[in-house]
């Protein structure tokens, strides 16, 4: 079983990202489960969402405490909360950042770090505003490439189905991130 934890802020679409991830992988015949951190969500406050992936039916029904990978929608969270809590060694930390992975030298010792300028890609594709770019689809493109857990085409298909508007621009953002991720 592979467990993924997504960190974002209320309004950034972390929960939707966890569902798109689940749908993408479900399309490849695997079992999935995704859920938000059970709680009261508020705009701007740190938000966590989870996705489980397995080859057999998933019976486990509790939060994810030892994720295989984490996805960070907002780099400011790295300072605010312990984003690597329980993260397995050599797990991927995929960060929305225009910096090189080496910039995150405290993480790089224990984990594998990948960066992608999801905010820039989102703005280039007219997703959201400068103050609030919609990065939840782009970051999944980076996740897809880095982890190699599923195919880009499955992700693009899932984005088309699950995103309520601007599907093609979101798909483009996914593709851009897929090609631009640094790791």
């Amino acid at each position: 079983m592979i467990e993924v934890r997504i960190h974002g802020r209320g309004g950034q679409g972390a929960v939707v990202a966890s569902k798109i991830l689940a749908v993408s992988i479900f399309k490849e015949g695997k079992y999935v489960q995704s859920f938000p951190n059970f709680g009261v969500e508020r705009r701007g406050a740190p938000v966590t969402a989870y996705t489980r992936i397995d080859d057999k039916a998933i019976l486990l029904r509790c939060k994810i405490y030892n994720p295989d990978h984490v996805v960070i929608l907002d780099p400011s969270l790295i300072e605010a909360i312990n984003i690597t809590e329980g993260l397995k060694e050599k797990g991927w930390v995929i960060i929305n950042s225009d910096k090189e992975p080496s910039h995150f030298n405290s993480l790089i010792k224990k984990y594998r770090v990948a960066t992608v300028d999801a905010s820039g890609i989102a703005l280039k594709n007219s997703l959201g505003s400068k103050a609030n770019p919609i990065v939840n689809t782009a970051i999944l493109g980076a996740f897809c490439k880095t982890t190699g857990l599923f195919r880009l085409t499955s992700l693009m298909e899932a984005v088309r189905e699950e995103v309520p508007s601007a599907q093609e621009r979101n798909v483009q953002a996914v593709e851009d991130a897929y090609h631009q991720v640094k790791y």
Binding site: K19, F26, Q33, S34, F35, F38, I58, L60, C62, K63
Partner: protein
């Protein structure tokens, strides 16, 4: 067709496929998406039902009672304080023998204010005459709504389909949405035999003097007893049509030759399966029974399975203050009349109240404790209390 659905939407799809005709509901966290989706289905014309907006859950149930009395298949959904606000009318629905189906998202009762899961809201409605189904997956939720109508309409008692807040209600997972034609084949149109008829006006729920009251209560109990076989039959029939079944009232998991039997319900049963597998791999003879139905209480099944065990561990995500875990107490109660030498010690664990996570570690801790002790030292064994 398989789709990634959240538990709440699995409820909505269950109601849609059951072709409910009247929905009266009031939104409450964590149930809201159930009724949002249903009102959307009504607005789009996908579901040809009358959606009644009401000002409280008490009114929601009142509207359901009236609609069902008029012969319509009705549905509502609620949670926690919404359910307890309905309390009076839950008696009315069951006493009036109205086959209403309701989804309840298990949420803890305040204060302190909580939106997270435990079973005290639904279990506090134990004596209202409603059947109660506790589900462990979104698939079971959807399927149980359909089964619930079939059961309710045969025995003329209402059914509550129950799922954990967030752990199911807000969790997305693959759900097979059955074809409408198959559901129609499985669940015929409702033909309620005691419906309102303007041509032959009768009064319903009117004064029932002591000469007759006892008899009608006797009949409610008889219907509950009759439900036992109906549930099993409906589940079997469901398997024939849809290829899925849930064991009727209880589901046994690796109980063959089990010396220790764990009793769990809802999503705790799901996680427990994993732990049972792990322990079996380690050579421990452990099994599990999932209490799918709490009402009617599966006395026969529970007795037959547990009398073969050396020890029983019950996980209750609920408590009856001044006594103990509610499932545990009922299990001890039904075991009381069996032969002394067959009676296993029953360990009662209370865990996970107010949404405290029940992880495989929690369950392992419970099982290890049970294996270690000869018999329970206390009526309640608390898990996770910070002392």
């Amino acid at each position: 067709m398989k789709k990634i659905l959240m538990g709440n939407h699995a409820v909505s799809y269950g109601a849609l496929l059951s072709r409910v005709e009247v929905i009266a509901a009031y939104p409450i966290t964590p149930q809201t998406q159930v009724v949002e989706e249903l009102s959307e289905m009504c607005a789009q014309g996908k579901l040809k039902a009358r959606y009644i907006n009401v000002e409280s859950e008490h009114s929601a149930m009142a509207a359901c009672i009236a609609a069902e009395q008029a012969g319509a298949r009705t549905f509502t959904a609620t949670s926690a304080h919404g359910l307890t606000l309905m309390h009076e009318l839950l008696h009315w629905a069951a006493g009036g023998r109205l086959p209403i189906v309701m989804a309840n998202i298990n949420r803890s009762m305040a204060p302190g204010w909580s939106i997270w899961t435990d079973q005290n809201d639904s279990l506090s409605q134990r004596d209202t005459g409603w059947l109660q189904i506790y589900c462990e997956s979104n698939q079971e939720v959807l399927d149980s709504i359909i089964q619930a109508y079939k059961i309710a309409e045969q025995i003329l008692l209402p059914v509550m389909v129950i799922l954990d807040a967030f752990v199911l209600s807000h969790t997305f997972e693959p759900v097979d949405i059955p074809k409408q034609e198959l559901v129609d084949q499985f669940l015929p149109e409702l033909d309620y035999p005691y419906k309102l008829d303007v041509k032959n006006p009768c009064s319903f729920g009117s004064l029932l003097p002591p000469e007759y009251y006892l008899e009608l209560r006797y009949k409610v109990q008889k219907a509950m007893e009759e439900a036992h076989d109906v549930i099993i039959k409906v589940d079997k029939e469901f398997q024939q049509v849809f290829g899925r079944s849930y064991g009727g009232l209880v589901e046994e998991y690796r109980t063959e030759d089990a010396e220790l039997v764990l009793v769990a319900s809802s999503t705790v049963a799901s996680t427990s399966r994993m732990v049972v597998d792990q322990l079996r791999d380690e050579g421990v003879k452990v099994g599990m029974i999932k209490m799918r139905f709490f009402r009617p209480f599966p006395t026969k099944e529970v007795t037959n399975i547990l009398k073969q065990a050396k020890k029983v561990a019950v996980i209750d995500r609920n408590i009856s203050y001044g006594q103990g875990g509610i499932f545990c107490e009922e299990i001890r109660s039904v075991l009381y009349n069996i032969d002394r030498q067959e009676k296993p010690p029953v360990f009662g664990y209370i865990a996970g109240l107010g949404g405290r996570d029940i992880t495989p570690t929690t369950i392992r801790e419970i099982l290890s404790h049970t294996l270690k002790e000869d018999k329970p030292k206390e009526n309640i064994i608390w898990i996770g209390v910070k002392h």
